[in-house]
Amino acid sequence: MTLKREIYKALEDVVGPENISEAPLILGSYAQRTRPRFEAVTLPQNTGEVQAIVRLCNRFKVQFKASSSGWGAYGDAGGPGVVKLDLRRMNRILEINEKNMYAVVEPYVIYAQLQAELMKRGLNCNITGAGSNCSALPLAAHQGIGHLSVSGSYGERNQLALEWVTPDGEIVRLGSLGSLGQWWCGDGPGPSLRGIIRGNVMPLGGLGVYTKAAQKVYHWPGPSTFAIEGVSPHYNPSQIPPGFMIRYVSFPSSDKLSQAAHKVGASEIGFILMGFNPAMMASNMATNNNEDRAYFKQFTDLVQGPGFLIIMAGNSPSDTEYKKKVLQQIMDEYSGKSLEPVEDPKNAGGFMWRFIRVTSSIREVARASGIFAGQVGGTDVFYLMHQYILRSSPLKERLINEGRLLADGTDPFVQLVEHGHAGHGELLIRFNKQDPEAMKAPAEVGMFANKTAIEGHFGVPGHVWGDAAHDQYGPHTSNYHLWLRKIKKTYDPNAASEATNYITVND
């Protein structure tokens, strides 16, 4: 299908000829992972252009789909007949409000950029665990849970006021923006619609376009910039900032890990807490896959069982001392053991900065084979999420023993959100994409994860999107899928917002 000339010309009039293309070469690069191609790719520069494109798509009965930094495949075309909005020209930080501690960004600001600007002002933000290469819009994709979530919460909770181009082309300003023209609150005075515009894991491009959003930012007790020495990939801070400390603590059992993590949350000593397994620690540190294997073996030999990474950031010398003492007490109580290579001063600063800037997610998930998958838990009570994600470990072990997955350990990673107010967990699998048997593994893990979640009443996990998954979960969860379809139908009467990864109106 090629766009009718009339439609193409109308889109071209909106963005200018340099910012639209239907060349097979251009379209192909947006379809590397999922083969369906867009009919055209547009590069709008502002909300007005986004709105105009959306309205044209409604008028001409073609679908549209927007994405920003685009790592998640959710932004790819789900089928033919779709116009792409690549939002990379909308790349400004619009405001950093130090007094009221929020930041307003357009979709193509990435977290590394936002964090760098915030740190200069003594502030910091949560960064999605996918990495600081991802969009800093708090509702760009998925849940926005990340390394800093123990102290910096996550996307849904951090999101404040929002500008939204609805699927039929209205501009809606939510929260305080809607009534006062200000960004400081997501839920009013004025319309909120937070549940509608977010859902459980975001509409993933299926419910219009989010063009600007504010998010809550947090106190940063560290320096305005980390002084990094060395040349890529061998970066290391020249010194660890005063008051900062990093440890990887392993425990004799998952239960002990869970209890210790709970205590860390209750005492609010964690700046970052991630229940990484040795494989992720190894991948984070290694600058190549050979090193990765060596560190993995070394770390596996040194740990006593599942563990967590913790970074503490003291606000004063006495606060630092307090946090250190509390951690030691928790380690004593639950038989925690520190992984020496992490606390080694030669490595500690590098680990610390990679985790704070969240630069190594690509190393951790993609470097091994260029592909990864797994099970993504929801956001609920920490212990519940830990139990849910833990149940998949035997399946992963079997798949590893069958030679279908990379043998990188079977401990899932778990994490605290808001000092244990909530928790989250994931199970990563990595495999050779040229191996047909390996390529079946993600589906097996997914099926098992869904069965576990439904039968075990663990709620709706984070990997649930698209019609089939919602239809599977909905009947067990208050028929939410029916409501979701009503939302979709109400806000998108022409089904213009392509929703393969959200939910479609196929009654």
């Binding site: 251009i26 990495g131 290469n133 040349v231 890529s232 190549n288 800037r357």
Partner: protein, 422 residues
């Protein structure tokens, strides 16, 4: 190696987009956080390193027809390698190599662009990538008492390079280099009108055969001369002699040094003593082919080890820009009394390109100037009075851009400032 040999590298791309930015650990502010001129200027993902990986696969799969758009994307890239370095912070995959192979494939399949065909014709006929007659190549050295290595033996050969030989504005850099080497007591010679293009830029443009022809011709001349060390002040030439000739097994045991490396060594050995004050505040621009692309070539032959992790037997060491030439030019500048060196945001392995590379200055001068303008703005933001570089290609493009767009920023080669101080 051919494009097909990099299929698995290209398939590793996970579309994370770190190829578009400076290494994220080093990102200090939103300004100057982009590293790839091509995606920064043209915006469609296709222009990024990751997009080019997809293009390479599509070409192998014969999903793309050669057309104007394909060649426009292929050649609107300076081949600066910044995407390669940012990617390899995290990944074990080649990026710049397949991008270069895409160009080689275009040339081999007979799909070239007229602007480059003209340049290559000049190379074939006159041995130069810059318009000029072979007989005029040695004119820059008139009046200099320097050995002609085609007739006299010298331990060191100074290769001036096309840009210097045919751009009178650059002659003073070459003259200053020879003068400094003489002051240090170095037995140096030149090939004069017998010097020929290194072929490096031709390779970046996709003309592999031309590189090989030039390499064979140059190495024959150097062998005959008996010179042990080749010194050049051009980053492209440096990369060609040191890296590309080695890649194709044509370098032998020739030691290749950039002038800044050699001069830094001579200063350290006390053979050159900068004593005169040059009171100025400058910032240094790392040329791509001296910096991140100037590290030694690493020979490797092997194959993937079967399994779920991408490792090779024998292990493959990727070139990640770690061992580029970053400190010698800075050491030379720091040796100049009175000179204050301030750094831009994007330096060393993640320096922003000057804009001239990869044939862009020939095929799309507007893009070359746009890229240079970005760098000039960045240099101005440091408060420096001058941007100093170590490559005539960068210098020319900066000067052309300043002339057209205006700026009070001066442009120097490192050698000029050292000469003033010595």
């Amino acid at each position: 190696m051919a494009l097909e040999d990099y299929r698995s590298d290209m398939e590793m791309c996970c579309r994370c987009s770190i190829c578009k930015f400076v290494p994220l650990e080093k990102l200090k502010e939103i300004q100057h956080s982009y590293v790839c001129p091509s995606i920064a200027r043209y915006n469609f993902h296709t222009y990024a390193g990751g997009g080019r990986m997809g293009m390479g696969i599509a070409m192998l799969e014969k999903e793309l027809e050669y057309d104007g758009k394909l060649l426009e994307v292929v050649y609107n890239c300076q081949m600066c390698g910044a995407c390669d370095i940012s990617c390899k912070y995290a990944m074990d995959m080649e990026v710049l190599e397949p991008i270069n192979e895409i160009r080689i494939k275009c040339v081999e399949d007979g799909h070239t662009v007229p602007a480059l065909d003209g340049v290559i014709n000049s190379l074939r006929k006159q041995g130069t990538m810059v318009p000029g007659a072979k007989a005029r190549r040695g004119e820059w050295a008139k009046g200099l008492d320097v050995k002609d290595i085609t007739r006299q033996k010298a331990k060191v050969i100074y290769h001036a390079g096309c840009r210097v030989c045919y751009d009178e504005d650059m002659w003073r850099v070459a003259k200053a280099t020879v003068t400094l080497l003489h002051k240090a007591g170095i037995d140096v010679g030149i090939a004069g009108e017998n010097e020929s293009c290194c072929g490096g830029r031709a390779y970046q443009m996709g003309y592999k055969e031309e590189l090989l022809n030039q390499a064979k011709q140059n190495m024959e001349l150097i062998k005959k001369s008996g010179a042990e060390i080749l010194v050049t002040g051009c980053a492209d030439c440096y990369c060609a002699f040191k890296v590309l000739y080695d890649k194709f097994g044509l370098k032998d045991d020739l030691e290749v040094l950039h002038t800044t490396e050699y001069l830094a060594r001579l200063i350290k050995e006390g053979k050159l003593k900068p004593t005169k004050k040059v009171e100025t505040k400058v910032t240094y621009h790392d040329p791509c082919h001296l910096g991140r692309l100037g590290e030694p070539y690493i020979h490797w032959e092997g194959k993937p080890v079967p399994g779920h992790i991408r490792i090779f037997g024998p292990p493959k060491e990727f070139r990640r820009g770690t061992y580029g030439i970053y400190e010698p030019p800075r050491d030379v500048l720091k040796s100049v009394p009175g000179l204050e060196l301030v750094e831009m945001d994007r330096i060393k392995e993640y320096a922003w390109c000057c804009g001239a590379g990869g044939g862009v200055k020939e095929t799309n001068p507007e893009f070359a100037r746009w890229t240079a303008r970005e760098r000039i703005d960045e240099a101005e933001s440091t408060g420096a009075e001058a941007i100093v570089t170590a490559c005539p290609g960068c210098e020319r493009n900066f000067k052309d851009t300043i002339k057209e767009n205006g700026s009070s920023l001066k442009v120097y080669d490192v050698v000029e400032l050292l000469e003033k101080a010595t």
